[in-house]
């Protein structure tokens, strides 16, 4: 095809678009051909840059969207599902919860502080751009093996970056999860989640409307930082990835705080038609999404873009990922009124263009047209791949009889709760302001964090979970389990699980076995979401988490959100008094495959993960939640990583009250009973008066419930194992991370 030129385009300063240049922009030959077809001519350099970022894996979801379509996204309480900046659910009284989780993996590995900080900043903007005041942040972090030379540096930088940003903007960081595994040695995962609250009649969307309406740029000035960040996040790492440091953006939480307040103030008026944050691919993706979403065109004069550096080219301006910027379509004639708000907050405010009826994104710079792209095909005809994939054969089941019993149950437990993957995360959580806004009613360390909806008696429960070793051993069961575990954690504090956001972290999708992991996890997630009535309302996909051909474990991190209509019903995992009766809900089969016991005590990673029976999961969870809401339960804890014995130890440490447990494992070997990770289980602590009622109610609902002991004293006594004092437990649990992070 012979590319034609349009007379309006200034070609003098644009280099020849060679094959090498196209390749450098990450576009395949096919993709470039599609670009030529859409334009009907060859692109300018600026246009090539725009196509490159819009069609990057990070922005276009080209490898994943085919499969994402199978996830359930609807429910009567879902107001907006995937496709908007964040998911929106109805919590009654004209209020809505708006939330999303997003990855910032690649930048965080290269520059942990700024990578993690800007990850928090970006996800906050996704939430407040819809009109919500952010009320809580959470995260899911994966690092390499503790003895990997970079792990300490990365953990330290990421945690400081998350705290540095979240603490300054004044949104509490209420917890999260942190795992260590060698599969993340070369690719850490930093997944940040934000939750906000808005009035349902004050929710803002990004679709632009109104020919002639002004398009406004607000926030920080545009610099050269983060150019091609989205492209970097769409490629594997190699030895020279360190050189990509300049593509990592720098966060300015002070400006973000001002931007939150200014935008919410603007949104309290009736001036805003549409609003969108500038995230990955900055001005490009925000303008294309707003224009294509509304079926209109945008004409920008790039000379008006506030710039931090001199001599910036249109290419640089369109591809910059400078942080803390928003694009707004205003009602006509309201510019001065809006500007006064941004002046008050000392933020840049510039009318950079207007809405046109051309359907094109038309950019002029120094009086010349430098780009003129039809936005609809750019956004909607982006490539979609059905990448080849192979079904992953689940690992075979490992019988408990094939796993040796520990020499000493007490020592085994102490070793487990003092191990990197089960030890106390206080060292991390204390670096986050978890209480600012004064509505955090369950702090980090419980099954789920709970934050009150300000000025009401309602509260939102939040958790992030995933067990990558399960997903690796069996992607379908692992995908199910990740969803089910969030559902269980929300249930364990008394909340009704409502919806999830997902952050799907995988390796290189061009490898069929990685695609097979992806497809498998999605299948498991879909099944769990359907049966638990727990739709996906937002999310993000991060692929190419590989270094030199070695991928991470499949990690579909799930962020779950639940509602407590009466926050006074909330329970924690800490029994309230001595003499309470402990009841185990669910069946113990002693599944040790893919367990932490196997990993920590035996040094093995083998076997299939525990199967998730979703009907039992639902039955048991609904029962537990009903009992909590009927005020029958003093404390509740779900059983997950490390199994029954570890869960008991966590309850003892939370309450600083001992327990006397009578072990009745039937045919299951003692160590499998203690450390097996069978699903759908909870431990309840109840007053003696409520004991019988709960057992009768459980029987009626066909829920397996068994009295296992009572609280009291200052030691955890587990059958015939030597008693373990509260002090011994705490000492083991709390010492690993501070010791590890103390550099002499």
């Amino acid at each position: 095809m012979t590319p034609k030129t349009t007379p309006d385009i200034k070609w003098n300063n644009t280099p020849e678009i060679t094959d090498a240049l196209v390749k450098e922009h990450g576009l395949s030959g096919e993709e470039y051909a599609l670009c030529l077809k859409i334009l009907g001519r060859r692109p300018t350099l600026t246009e090539l840059g725009i196509f490159s970022v819009m069609w990057s894996e990070h922005c276009s979801y080209k490898s994943s969207k085919l499969h994402l379509k199978s996830l359930p996204t609807k429910a009567p309480w879902v107001i907006h599902g995937p496709g908007e900046n964040a998911g929106v659910i109805d919590i009654g009284d004209n209020q809505a919860i708006i939330f999303k989780m997003e990855s910032h993996n690649h930048p965080s590995y290269i520059e942990p502080y700024q990578g993690a900080a800007t990850g928090v900043g970006g996800i906050l903007r996704d939430v407040f751009t819809m009109g919500a005041r952010p009320i809580a942040n959470m995260n899911a972090l994966r690092f390499g093996a503790p003895d990997h030379p970079k792990t300490r540096h990365l953990l330290s930088g990421v945690v400081e970056g998350i705290g540095g940003y979240g603490n300054c903007v004044g949104v509490p960081t209420v917890g999260g999860e942190t795992n260590f595994h060698p599969s993340y040695d070369g690719n850490i995962l930093v997944n940040a989640m934000s939750v906000g609250v808005a009035d349902q009649d004050k929710i803002f969307l990004s679709a632009a409307a109104g020919i002639g309406n002004p398009v406004i740029y607000v926030g920080s000035k545009t610099g050269r930082d983060g150019i091609h960040g989205a492209t970097m996040a769409s490629a594997e790492f190699t030895e020279d990835s360190e050189e990509k440091r300049p593509t990592v953006q720098v966060g300015d939480p002070f400006t973000e705080k001002l931007l939150i307040e200014a935008c919410l103030e603007l949104m309290s008026t009736d001036m805003v038609v549409a609003i969108q944050d500038m995230g990955a691919a900055g001005l490009t993706s925000s303008s294309v999404e707003m224009a294509s979403g509304g079926g209109v065109g945008f004409a920008f004069n790039l000379d008006r873009v506030p710039q931090r550096e001199e001599g910036m080219t249109p290419y640089e301006m369109m591809l910059s990922e400078s942080q803390e910027r928003m694009l707004i379509v205003l009602k006509p004639g309201r510019e001065e009124e809006a500007k006064a708000i941004f002046d008050k907050w000392d933020l840049d405010f510039a009318v950079i263009g207007e809405i046109t009826d051309t359907g094109n994104l038309t950019l002029t710079f120094k009086g010349e047209v430098v780009a003129d792209i039809p936005t609809q095909p750019l956004a909607d005809n982006s490539p979609e791949y059905d990448r080849p994939w192979v079904k992953i054969t689940p690992k075979t089941e490992l019988k408990a009889a094939d796993v040796a019993a520990p020499q000493d149950m007490k020592q085994a437990l102490l070793k487990m709760i003092g191990s990197p993957n089960l030890c106390s995360r206080d060292w991390i959580w204390q670096q986050y302001d978890s209480q600012v806004m004064a509505d955090t009613i369950q702090k980090p360390g419980g099954d789920a964090a709970v934050v009150r909806i300000h000025g009401t008696n309602k509260a939102v429960a939040i958790t992030t979970d995933c067990t990558p070793r399960y997903c690796y051993a069996d992607p379908v069961e692992g995908g199910k389990q990740a969803v089910a575990e969030t559902w269980r954690n929300l249930t364990a504090v008394g909340a009704l699980p409502m919806a999830i956001t997902d952050c799907l972290n995988f390796g290189n999708p061009e490898r069929p076995e990685i695609m097979g992991q992806f497809v498998g996890c999605i299948e498991g997630m879909r099944e769990a979401c359907e049966i638990l009535d727990y739709p996906v309302v937002s999310g993000n996909v991060s692929l190419y988490n590989e270094t030199n051909g070695t991928g991470i474990y499949p990690t579909p991190a799930i962020g779950g959100v639940g509602l407590l209509t009466d926050s006074s019903k909330m329970v924690s995992l800490a029994p309230q008094a001595e003499g309470e009766i402990l009841i185990l809900i669910g069946e113990t089969k002693g599944h040790l495959g893919a367990s932490l016991y196997l990993d920590i005590i035996e040094g093995r990673e083998e076997g299939s993960p525990p199967p998730v029976d979703l009907m039992t999961e639902k039955k048991n969870g609904d029962f537990v939640r009903a009992q909590i809401n009927n005020d029958k339960i003093s404390a509740c804890h779900d059983i997950s990583d490390g199994g029954f014995f570890v869960a008991l130890a966590e309850m003892v440490m939370a309450a600083k009250i001992g327990m006397d447990i009578t072990v009745n494992c039937d045919d299951v070997p003692l160590h499998a009973c203690a450390f097996g990770e069978d699903q759908a289980r909870y431990i309840l602590s109840v007053t003696p008066e409520n004991r019988d009622q709960i057992l009768i109610a459980a029987q009626k609902e066909n829920v397996t419930a068994q009295v296992i002991g009572k609280t009291g004293g200052q030691a955890l006594t587990f059958g015939s194992a030597a008693p373990i004092s509260v002090a011994e437990l705490l000492d083991s649990h709390q010492s690993w991370m501070p010791n590890y992070m103390t550099i002499d």
Binding site: E160, G163, G164, N167, C168, V169, G170, D252, P253, F254, T255, K257, L258, K344, W345, D346, D426, W429, Q430, Q431, Y432, D433, S434, Q435, V436, M437, A438, T440, I441, K443, R452, S567, S568
Partner: protein, 229 residues
């Protein structure tokens, strides 16, 4: 009791302070934006926590030089009551209304956790609802709360009973382990010579009802009502 809360850019505990003052005094505080020229006649001015101006210079240094802060100083010079919590305490030391400085935490890390405080002097407008030696639980959340003053200043503070609160352990002892930031003499809060100005790093406004995990901060606000009404 009439109150005012000063809001600087990136103050972020302003709402918590406003909610606490309204709940306890029954009246909504005046909210004063840092560019406002005047502060109405009030009984108490509160400088809330946060990261005023991003704390990109020394914490509190920019806010201390903000025009509205001059009005706060005038109010204090007239004997008016002023409290500064966390970043507000940093602003007060930067203005010189309180002596000493808040340095980076000894751990060099931000620290957020509940701490135990011992009430050192209950003969002040901010502590009279507590008994002397009472142990209360209040959260801290700061990066720069390591109170420092030279020997003479420390001696004066100690001799004049101007230490309001000290970090202690469960048994009420001032140990190194109970000190979250390395403050000299485990100092968590101090008052001015005329007893009308208090600065403290912990956040009493975050613990005023049981749902928040305790109400250890309630006495702080009750004290001011006792003193002023």
């Amino acid at each position: 009791m009439k109150t005012a809360v000063i809001v600087f850019p990136a103050s972020n505990c302003d709402r918590d302070m406003i909610v606490a003052l309204e709940k306890i005094t029954g009246h909504k505080p005046h909210i004063i934006w840092h560019q406002d020229e005047d502060i109405p006649q009030v009984d108490l001015i509160a400088l809330p926590g946060g990261f005023s101006f991003g704390d990109y210079l020394r914490c509190g240094a920019m806010a201390a030089r903000s025009p509205v802060t001059r009005k706060v100083i005038e109010h204090a010079d007239r004997g008016g009551n002023v409290i500064g919590i966390c970043n507000g305490f940093q602003v007060l030391t930067e203005t010189g209304l309180l002596p000493g400085a808040l340095m980076r935490n000894e751990s060099l890390k931000f620290v957020c956790k509940d701490v135990k405080l011992r009430v050192e002097n209950n003969d002040t407008p901010f502590t009279n609802a507590y008994s002397e030696g009472q142990i209360i639980t209040v959260p801290v959340a700061h990066h720069d709360g390591n109170y420092f003053a030279d020997e003479d200043t420390l001696k004066a503070l100690e001799d004049e009973g101007r230490i309001a609160f000290r970090y202690v352990d469960d048994g009420g002892q001032t140990t190194k382990a109970s000190n979250p930031n390395g403050s000299r003499n485990n100092i968590a809060g101090i008052i001015s010579r005329r007893k009308n100005i208090l600065g403290m790093m912990p956040h009493p406004e975050r613990l005023i009802e049981d749902a928040q995990g305790g109400a250890g901060g309630l006495g702080f606000f009750q004290s001011m009502i006792n003193a002023i009404n």
